[in-house]
């Protein structure tokens, strides 16, 4: 093993990153506000797509941090700060979620009192699907995520100064508590914000499906950030192809997992052929949606599968970065495919509108902004972590 002597010198991220974030965010927000005045329903559905995308990146990152601690992984320790920065999106959700709660009437069919009144099925689901409980749940989940984010990241940063190894132990314990909390909360979040858009439909694997996409998206975001920082020399000289390989291999695993879950959900519904289940897929096979459905299979599975199959593709930074950006778009398409066909006027086929494009711009700006803000206050590498040395010397 290379016995690298490692001395960390704090190197600030360039101010241009924040400036870039602000510009993109402001432009995106202005366009999004405009969209709200043009077509409120379409705008709020698109807002939900971007919101779920941000939840994916933030929550998936916190999950990966927790996973690293309880699995005792070395290789990801030197780059753990990247998911930590992304996880700062979680407390931001407390603000981001408010428009969804305000405009719940536009989004959720079950929020219409008169619709529930003459619908036996919705009446049966009313104890769970009602506006009060929905708002309470939402804030409890975001609160729990923010709490775990705050505790784990605080321990991690404190370790930079104190080099106290018991903090790692504390985070292992926190991670072990967080994983089941995460499993339940992400399932209910997926049900609340996406499955309940079509309140008559149900799929027990839905939460797992969203989870699979979440990890793909957060890994893709982390990979892009890591590669960008490596390009600019923040991670030299220690970062090797083996670190990149591990990121690529994990992404590869989770796109397979996503395909496995997506197919499991589809096959059972297709085979049982019950009208109460199949209509959800039939809507997505209607008009223009059929092309988006087929595109999703290709973009989210077949292309990245063969692109990441070989060893060099996971080690070559250029190719890996391309695939990571590709996968972020794939997840965005996945969210779009899950959410948009539920919009009343889109059930008979997809109709393009500029509104679909502006919200991801604002989202990108926000993610960059939050990342830059979080990175300003912390070291880019957890210099106090006892696993850091082994992580830096990691070889396959």
């Amino acid at each position: 093993m290379s016995q690298t002597d490692f001395h960390y010198q704090k190197k600030e991220l360039p101010a241009s990153l924040s400036r870039l974030g602000i510009i993109i965010f402001v432009v995106g927000t202005v366009l999004s506000l405009l969209a709200f005045f043009v077509d409120q329903e379409r705008a709020i559905f698109n807002y939900l797509v971007t919101y779920m995308m941000i939840v994916s990146i933030g929550l998936g990152s916190l999950f990966l941090i927790g996973l690293e601690y309880i699995a005792g992984a070395d290789w990801s320790t030197p780059i753990r700060r990247i998911p930590e920065f992304f996880a700062m999106l979680l407390p931001v959700l407390l603000v981001l979620v408010i428009p969804l709660l305000v405009f719940n009437h536009d989004l959720f069919h079950w929020a219409h009192k008169e619709a529930v009144a003459d619908d036996k099925i919705l009446q049966g689901k009313a104890p769970y699907l009602n506006v009060t409980f929905f708002i309470v749940r939402t804030f409890v989940f975001i609160g729990l995520w923010s709490l775990f984010y705050w505790m784990m990241v605080r321990n991690s940063r404190k370790q930079d100064e104190t080099k106290d190894q018991t903090l790692t132990k504390k985070n292992i314990r926190l991670g072990a508590i967080f994983i089941p909390v995460f499993a339940l909360s992400i399932t209910f979040t997926a049900i609340d914000f996406m499955m309940s858009l079509e309140p008559h439909w149900f799929s027990t694997i839905y939460g797992v499906y969203y989870f699979a996409g979440t990890v793909v998206a957060s890994l893709a975001a982390i990979t892009i950030a890591v590669l960008k920082l490596k390009e600019k020399g923040y991670f030299s000289p220690w970062m090797t192809d083996d670190h990149l390989f591990s990121l690529g291999a994990l992404m590869f695993a989770f796109i397979n997992f996503w395909a496995y879950i997506a197919f499991s959900q589809f096959m059972l519904i297709w085979y049982a052929d019950l009208p109460e289940e199949t209509f959800w897929y039939l809507i997505r096979w209607e008009g223009g949606w059929v092309f988006i459905s087929i595109l999703l299979m290709i973009v989210h599975f077949f292309v990245p599968y063969f692109a990441l199959l070989t060893q060099p593709s996971k080690m070559n930074p250029k190719r890996l970065k391309f695939i990571a950006i590709w996968l972020l778009f794939a997840h965005l398409l996945d969210m779009f495919w899950l959410i948009m066909p539920n919009m009343g006027s889109m059930k008979n086929g997809y109709v393009f509108s500029w509104i679909d494009l502006v919200f991801p711009i604002a989202g990108t700006g926000l993610v960059i902004l939050v990342f830059a803000f979080a990175a300003k206050k912390a070291n880019l590498i957890p210099i106090g972590d006892p696993k850091l040395k082994r992580g830096i010397d990691f070889h396959l």
């Binding site: 093993m1 197919f263 096959m267 297709w270 085979y271 052929d273 990691f394 070889h395 396959l396």
Partner: protein, 388 residues
């Protein structure tokens, strides 16, 4: 002492993974090519230290995996769409989503089995599965807690003295000269080994056969299964003549059953009289039974115009002069006994129902051949004053 033996190589053991990585690096940069490292578990970074190129085994996996996928799809296409097409769950014969799980399994199965097979065949150099390192103290220690490195004699730079010194300079715990075994044989061709394989396969297949065909069919208790009882297609042990029941006394009449005296006669000289009046209820019953049993051949209105016409000896109309002149008892006789192609309906239709059908046939015949008087009667019943 060992001068007559051929040297295979020189082995050295090290204490820690760091030392073996370091040693592997030194050996490879010293220019040795024919050497190998043996460790109790995979040591991270070894590939880079030994400057090993990525294995080509992945190509076997890829090719065989794709072959497995293609084979699975072809197999299911042939079975489900060509050889024995069967509708399952209303799905098309070639139902791709239903085939995906099997395709996936066969892909994985073929890819993994052929990878392992190729690995054994290539790396063990079958059929020569013997290796000089087997049964050495060196192999025992590197299977435990030591990390070992062997420089082979086939390397062009090999020299017994210089290699030993070189390995010692790397702070090896100890070095050992490994010799080829005295007799070079292919152990997998030895009679002992082949006998052993045969014995194993006999035991395994016998055991499998016993478990699948005998053990799983063994009954946990048998006093219900093996009791004295009547079994179809087998002589019974209840009576000496092998029958399970006694034949009833001659002339016995079953309950609710009246024997038909003209059974089997084609042209009976006398027939029974109709015991039922054509009441509304009786005719309704007859109509229901007529539609169940008679319409398939004779048609809804007894015209003999059912869908069987033209595919079969044409069923006769019941409106012919001959049929109209039949007495009730004769029609009953034909239903009971059958006529020409028509079989007996005695077993399907009860006696009373047969008489009801006779009454309904009479209704049909009268409707088809109504007289003027009938029309007048009908109009009277309907309260109409249009008499003509």
């Amino acid at each position: 002492m060992h001068n007559d033996k051929k040297i295979y190589g020189i082995a050295a053991t090290f204490k820690t993974p760091d030392e073996i990585i370091n040693a592997a690096k030194k050996v490879s940069s010293a220019g040795y090519i024919q050497y190998d490292v043996n460790t109790p578990y995979p040591v991270h970074g070894m590939d880079a230290a030994m400057k090993i190129k990525p294995s080509k085994l992945g190509f076997v996996t890829l090719v065989m995996g794709l072959a497995g996928a293609a084979l699975a799809l072809l197999m299911m296409y042939y079975m489900m769409s060509v050889d024995y097409p069967m509708v399952i769950g209303g799905k098309p014969f070639f139902a791709l989503p239903a085939f995906i799980p099997v395709t996936f399994e066969l892909t994985v199965l073929l890819a993994t089995l052929s990878t392992v097979g190729a690995m054994i065949a290539l790396f063990f150099r079958l059929p020569d599965n013997q290796h000089p390192l087997h049964d050495t103290a060196y192999m025992k220690s590197v299977s435990g807690d030591k990390f070992g490195l062997v420089i082979e004699a086939s390397d062009v730079k090999f020299d017994e003295k210089s290699v030993t010194d070189f390995l010692k300079s790397l702070h090896a715990l100890n070095t050992e000269i490994i010799y080829y075994p005295e007799e070079v044989a292919y152990p997998i061709f030895q009679p002992k080994f082949i006998m052993f394989l045969i014995a194993i396969s006999v035991v395994v297949s016998g055991g499998t056969y016993f478990m699948l065909n005998k053990l799983v069919y063994m009954t946990p208790f048998n006093w219900m299964m093996d009791q004295d009882k009547l079994t179809p297609q087998k002589p019974s042990e209840l009576f000496a003549d092998g029958r399970g029941m006694r034949t009833p006394v001659e002339g016995t009449v079953a309950q609710g059953f009246i024997p038909y005296p003209y059974k089997g006669q084609t042209n009976p000289t006398e027939v029974l009289a109709n015991p039922f009046l054509p009441t509304k209820e009786n005719i309704a019953l007859g109509k229901a039974k007529y539609f169940t049993y008679c319409t398939p051949c004779h048609g809804d209105f007894a015209d003999g115009d059912s869908r069987l016409r033209g595919q079969f000896p044409n069923p006769p109309t019941l409106h012919s002069k001959r049929a109209r002149d039949f007495s009730d008892g004769m029609i009953y006789h034909i239903i009971t006994n059958g006529q020409n192609v028509m079989p007996s309906y005695a077993s399907q239709i009860t006696r009373d129902e047969r008489w009801a059908i006779v009454n309904y046939v009479r209704v049909l015949q009268r409707a088809k051949n109504a007289s003027d008087a009938d029309l007048i009667d009908m109009n009277k019943e309907a309260g109409s004053n249009v008499a003509n």
